[in-house]
């Protein structure tokens, strides 16, 4: 029951137009650059992308945006020194943006993966990001009701996979990967090393293979 694919193109095959795609990575750490490039070649369009940022310079997520494939993005921090592709699309009204506090982004995906229908969160209370959202007092504190963010597809980067899809990350490359893997119908991971089943320490597996549908090895 190997989940290992021969190429990134094979790994992203079948992503449908209109999909919600969760894209891991924080900075370049954990960024699934080969999978994003393959997704550009694959051609799916009208996508909703969920990622911490909105792309840097002209490669990776920025290239996907530049190719006109993304209708909407949910992220915590779109504006960066080199986010000119996003900035241009946003200012010209060609992309929809939902800014989500970084922890809410993570927790809303966690809720999707954990079967939680919604949760009351203290983050953002009294701010413009909570405008129009339901609030509730619990134990004298005000909370905002937040709903899950589920993906059709998650593209994540990890360090090592075994053939069943158990994943180990490396340092801060872990970031959104484990959460996104739980929140998507189909989770696709690019990794630097593929090992045999039994080669990973079961105590140290971070993402169990149950969450991983396809794996592709990419150059380290």
């Amino acid at each position: 029951m190997s989940v290992v694919c021969d190429s990134a193109d094979e790994a992203v095959a079948g992503v449908a137009d209109g999909s919600t795609v969760l894209v891991g990575g924080f900075g370049m750490a954990g960024m699934p650059v080969h999978l994003i490039d393959a997704l550009i070649r694959q051609g799916a369009t009208d996508l909703t992308v969920v990622s911490n940022n909105a792309g840097n310079a002209d490669t990776g997520l920025a290239a996907l945006l530049a190719a006109g494939r993304v209708r909407k993005i949910l992220c915590s921090f779109p504006r960066q020194a080199d986010s000119w592709v996003f900035d241009g699309l946003y200012r010209s009204g060609r992309i929809e943006l939902e800014v989500v506090p970084q922890g809410n982004l993570a927790e809303r995906m966690r809720a999707a993966g954990a079967g939680i229908g919604a949760f009351y969160c203290p983050t953002g209370v009294g701010t413009m990001l909570a405008e129009g959202k339901e609030t509730r007092e619990i134990g004298g504190r005000t909370y905002v009701l937040e709903y899950p963010i589920a993906g059709d597809v998650a593209l994540i980067g990890a360090h090592v996979a075994d053939r069943r899809g158990n994943l180990v990350y490396r340092k801060t490359g872990r970031n959104f990967g484990p959460v996104m893997a739980t929140a998507a119908t189909t989770t696709i991971a690019e990794v630097r090393h593929v090992v045999e089943v039994g080669d990973l320490d079961p105590e140290a597996v971070v993402t169990p293979g149950i969450y991983v549908d396809r794996v592709v090895r990419v150059p380290a």
Binding site: M28, A29, F77, Q80, S83, P122, T123
Partner: protein, 226 residues
């Protein structure tokens, strides 16, 4: 001349604090054993003033406790970044975790302190530090709201005055808010303030006296601890 009454140090024999001096003043108030998140920008300077044996553990919201200094040369590892996406190092006793766990740690009140920059802080501790309110600006919040709401204590570091000379400690924030009633202390180049439930208390001044400070800030101030 330094005039110290029971609870207020006025350092009028010198100018305002430089950025690095200010970082040192903040570091002085961080206690051994604390778990601390230093926000992007000016707050990261505080790390330079924490001794290796300070017992302070740094958190970075992208999934790590035990973050060390910035990495350079051979120590640069692109899998090991801080929240500002700069390469950093790992100290003994570090631990890695994913984003949901990292923000659960923050939101759940486990960090003793976060230090953040600010555009404005109100007299009741409201924080505005993520958006200028400019309708043309691309909004970007990152982890600021989560940190401000979650840490047990929030220290703000900022210059007290804008370039136009207006105080950023205000009766009520005009910029979009990051979080309500979250700021405990404000460290600025000319004064440090403690925001209590009843008043804004001045603890120390640099380059001006308490009386001068009162004339330049619209917020009612209290002289030292009552």
């Amino acid at each position: 001349m330094t005039v110290a009454d029971a609870n207020l140090d006025e350092h009028t024999d010198r100018g305002p604090l430089g950025r690095d001096e200010l970082a040192g003043v903040v570091a002085r108030d961080i206690r051994p054993g604390w778990y601390v998140n230093l926000g992007i920008g000016q707050p990261t300077l505080v790390a330079n003033h924490l001794a290796p044996d300070s017992g302070v553990t740094l958190h970075t919201e992208n999934g790590m406790l035990g973050m060390g200094p910035l990495a350079s040369g051979d120590a640069v590892d692109l899998d090991l970044l801080n929240a500002g996406k700069e390469p950093v190092t790992e100290l003994p006793g570090a631990a890695y975790f994913h984003h949901a766990d990292s923000f659960a740690m923050m939101r759940g009140g486990h960090l003793d302190l976060c230090v953040l920059g600010a555009f404005q802080v109100s007299a009741t501790g409201d924080l505005a530090n993520w958006h200028t309110g400019d309708p043309d600006a691309v909004p970007a919040v990152g982890g600021a709201m989560d940190l401000a709401v979650g840490a047990r204590q929030v220290f703000v570091m900022m210059s007290l005055f804008t370039k136009a000379g207006t105080a950023k400690l205000v009766p009520s924030c005009s910029y979009p808010l990051t979080a309500l009633r979250c700021v405990d202390r404000v460290y600025t180049d000319v004064a440090t303030f403690e925001i209590t439930a009843r008043a804004v208390v001045v603890r120390e001044t640099w380059g001006l006296s308490y009386d001068e400070l009162c004339t330049r800030v619209e917020v009612p101030l209290v002289r030292g601890y009552p």
